[in-house]
């Protein structure tokens, strides 16, 4: 087959054009010195300045970062622990647990969001009878984020567990280490690449989630994406372009980080003569497919 014929070049160019044109337009207009989204009025950074004086945006940024960092931290620990638990299950139980783990990933966000909201409201009403105040707000937002982050961590730790030599922990114990010491000193460092990938994915998911946050945050708390949404509802302000550009760049940076890590890990493991070790964010969807294959 001929590589890079003119037609395939044009085709690829068109694909990338359609994919990235909207983002480039957005970025361009965030520097536009005009309220219009159609006419170029010269270059300006005013929208960025205005953005950083907007109290509601700054508060939302704080909420978003806080909820993402907290949710990621908790989900990473909980997800790693669950992954190890799942891995140590026998045959069928493990397959069932992994499938159950995968359902929330494929579930529509809106269903997850609405169902969580219902659960929180219901719980709030039950707890109100005991005089405990539990209404939608930051805590419910955090719980929701932790919940949808955990499966991503499990998915990215699992392949590392499968690669793990089951005798490593035994070897450490054999040399005098207690079970706990063996885990932290020998097993955890081996899982670390998977844990870090999972953490980064969870953080990305948390930071740009809108739907689930929208339903679980309540009236008082809002995340960045919710602020964008409410700003768009009033009128399309170029401030939004600036905010969106910044969010896009932040997520892009994270993704680049993740991919650099993974390709580094891949190169290392190839050099070591092992199979492909890194599980990219792009291969996430296939992860559940190779469960039976790896179980043989």
């Amino acid at each position: 087959m001929k590589k890079n014929g003119p037609i395939s070049r044009i085709y690829i160019f068109l694909i990338f054009l359609f994919l990235y044109a909207p983002i480039f337009v957005l970025i361009a207009f965030s520097f536009n010195d005009s309220r219009s989204n159609a006419v170029w009025g010269g270059f300006t950074l005013d929208w960025y300045l205005e953005l950083f004086q907007n109290r509601s945006v700054l508060e939302a940024l704080q909420t978003t970062l806080l909820v993402s960092v907290l949710a990621t931290a908790i989900a990473t620990v909980a997800g790693t622990a669950s992954a190890i638990g799942f891995y140590n299950l026998r045959g069928r139980a493990r397959t069932v647990c992994l499938s159950v783990n995968n359902i929330p990933l494929t579930n529509a966000d809106i269903i997850t969001g609405v169902s969580m909201m219902l659960l929180f409201v219901f719980t709030g009403q039950v707890l109100a009878q005991w005089g405990i105040d539990f209404s939608l707000g930051f805590p419910t937002l955090l719980i929701a984020h932790i919940t949808f982050d955990i499966p991503y961590v499990i998915l990215s730790v699992m392949p590392k567990l499968r690669q793990l030599d089951p005798h490593l922990a035994e070897a450490a114990q054999d040399l005098g280490a207690t079970g706990l010491y063996a885990f932290f000193k020998v097993v955890l460092p081996e899982l670390m690449p998977g844990i870090v990938s999972g953490m980064l994915i969870a953080f990305t998911m948390s930071i740009d989630d809108f739907l689930i946050s929208y339903f679980t945050a309540g009236g008082q708390t809002s995340t960045l994406s919710m602020v964008v949404y409410s700003m768009v509802r009033r009128r399309v302000s170029p401030e939004i372009n600036a905010l969106s550009t910044l969010m896009f760049l932040a997520v892009l940076l994270l993704l680049i980080l993740i991919n650099l890590r993974q390709s580094g890990g891949l190169r290392r493991s190839r050099r070591a003569g092992r199979g492909p070790a890194a599980e990219g964010i792009l291969s996430l969807a296939n992860e559940d497919l190779d469960v039976p294959a790896q179980d043989r």
Binding site: Q173, D174, A177, A272
Partner: protein
């Protein structure tokens, strides 16, 4: 011999209704090189793991230096293990791998450094401390695994098919080296393998196991020359195993003919299994032979020819440097010490006929590299 160090009494191990170990009784002396030998699934690895503390026997006791250690966790036992796939810690360099046990024991830095370097020297890899695990070859990683274990000065070193992943040449070198290391450090080695040649080369004592039971315990010479049953005879080297009858002390009947032999102490007219090693048979002209047969197959093996001879429907393997063409009629002569008489056992009739002999036979004999689920 020196004093007894480990004793296993009536060990039984049952996984999901499957009996993996069936009444294992065994004692192991201090400074002994003992090999657990058997095909995959025979329970040898399970026995080793019980001694290492990684598995608890369903019933029975493990004694170490006279103390029952069934409930002692692995990290408190005075044994160290060399695992089949080495199980080196990939995120640590060689020095840290070897130093792992010493660091846990809080050995002072100066002594730690000295002992690690000594251990690396012992396994012929001095100065490798700074290297990463990945940069070493399989054979080198194996040596590091040994260094990592013996640097802790255990009383017993457990080795689980440590040479299984190496190629033939390297394996032979390592066999000699392992034996040397064992004599140098003077500790007990308990070695698990399915490779009979490895066992014969290195061991002081061989324990032949099959189906969760011990078949025979003895020195390499004993096991080879006086196998207790057809399984042992077949598993250790090549054997022709023929039905015979003991007519009297020193007289055995095969194919209705009488042969002088050295074995005694059987009942008169007792049916027995007769083992004749392929190298104990001499090919002679037809008219001088004690038995006569037809050559059906000849394979050149380098040092000798594997000659398959049909004696009235039962095919024998003869290993000799004399070439006899296929189809020729030959006679054979067997000296009295070439006959090994065994009592009939559950294994009688299942081994020792070379009718289905082919080149594939050798590979079948090798056994798979990995063990089955229970042993992994």
């Amino acid at each position: 011999m020196s004093k007894e160090l480990i004793r296993l009494t009536d060990l039984r191990m049952v996984f999901d209704d499957e009996v993996v170990l069936n009444s294992i009784n065994l004692y192991i002396n201090d400074q002994e090189f003992l090999t657990l030998l058997g095909p995959s699934g025979c329970g040898k690895t399970t026995t080793l793991r019980i001694i290492g503390g990684f598995q608890r026997p369903t019933s029975g006791d493990v004694f170490f230096d006279g103390v029952r250690i069934n409930d002692v966790p692995p990290h408190k036992r005075k044994v160290n293990t060399v695992f089949q796939k080495y199980a080196l810690f990939p995120h640590m360099n060689i020095f840290e791998n070897v130093a792992f046990g010493l660091r846990i024991r809080k050995v002072p830095p100066a002594e730690l450094k000295r002992r690690v370097e000594e251990a690396l020297e012992l396994v012929n890899l001095p100065g490798y401390g700074k290297r990463s695990v990945d940069s070493l070859s399989g054979g080198q990683q194996q040596r590091i695994a040994i260094a990592r274990a013996i640097v802790n000065r255990p009383q017993v070193l457990l080795l689980d098919e440590p040479l299984g992943a190496l190629d033939l040449k390297l394996r032979k070198d390592m066999q000699i080296e392992l034996k040397k290391i064992q004599q140098q450090v003077g500790i007990t080695f308990i070695y698990v393998t399915h490779d009979q040649e490895e066992a014969l080369t290195m061991s002081d004592t061989i324990v032949v196991m099959d189906k969760g039971s011990i078949q025979q315990i003895g020195t390499p010479e004993d096991i080879y020359n006086e196998p207790k049953n057809a399984f042992v005879a077949d598993f250790i080297g090549e054997s022709n195993i023929i039905d015979g009858v003991m007519y009297a002390d020193g007289v055995v009947g095969l194919y209705g003919k009488l042969f002088p032999c050295l074995d005694k102490g059987f009942d008169k007219d007792e049916p027995v299994d007769v083992v004749i090693r392929p190298e104990d048979i001499d090919i002679v002209p037809e008219d001088q032979g004690q038995l006569t047969g037809t050559v059906t197959e000849v394979t050149f093996k380098g040092v000798h020819y594997d000659t398959i001879v049909d004696f009235r429907g039962f095919k024998w393997l003869i290993q000799t440097t004399d070439y006899s063409p296929v189809g020729s009629r030959i006679g054979v002569k067997i000296d009295p010490d070439g006959f090994h008489i065994m009592k009939k056992s559950a294994y009688s009739g299942t081994f020792g006929d070379y009718s289905s002999y082919s080149d594939a036979y050798d590979e079948l004999n090798e056994g798979p590299e990995g063990e089955d689920g229970h042993e992994a």
